[in-house]
Point group: C2
Chain length 123, copies 2
């Protein structure tokens, strides 16, 4: 998938990924209603655009459609992460860690987890 998902569209994908099961447009709208003040119409537009982009599928269920993600969140997130690190730090992750560390973007738990990850990587 080399398709770009916009920020607003991503919100819809997140709802679908979080649900773990096919949702109707109305259900998606409900899921999102919490953080964003979107109208149902807006959600429907997002769903159409995402379908056009091929990142979600819809099966008919009588009157309505049931929408499901067509790509895995971890794939998308991994792809975007690589892109981001590439663009901002020339592909190296350490400068990102350095930058966040310098701005206190890391707490104890995060640090410990990363260390554990790296330890495991070397084994």
């Amino acid at each position: 998938m080399d398709v770009r998902i916009s920020e607003a569209e991503l919100e819809v994908m997140e709802a679908l990924w979080a649900a773990g099961q096919p949702l109707t447009a109305a259900e998606v709208a409900d899921q999102i209603a919490g953080h964003r003040g979107w109208s149902l119409a807006t959600v429907k537009t997002m769903l159409s655009r995402l379908a056009a982009k091929g990142v979600l599928t819809h099966k008919e269920d009588g009157r309505r459609f049931l929408y499901s993600p067509a790509i895995k969140r971890e794939d998308y997130v991994g792809h975007e992460s690589r892109r981001f690190v590439e663009r901002m730090f020339g592909g190296r992750l350490s400068p990102l860690v350095a930058r966040l560390a310098e701005e206190d973007g890391l707490d104890e738990k995060d640090i410990a987890e990363i260390e554990a990850l790296l330890r495991e990587l070397k084994s």
Copy 2:
């Protein structure tokens, strides 16, 4: 700065940041000519838009302008990094490290550097 810089615009900012000194539009275009096949006109549009967004400044130098970044790269990059980690990983950096690690996005050097960083953080 809560201003968004588009991907193409960022290319121009990178040229200015890399130069380390004020550049004319033509110089910026030359810098960029390597990676991107932009016409001088396009570069001029980018410079205008970036000036409108307030992320660069221009001082007159006789006939032409000399453009300089109005924000520091590290500030911008730090800001975007926080935004990204927030959006994709709920603000936690470790899942990003995990994701990249799992896709072999990390080499030995990167790992060593990150470990050194973390060690220093704890002292």
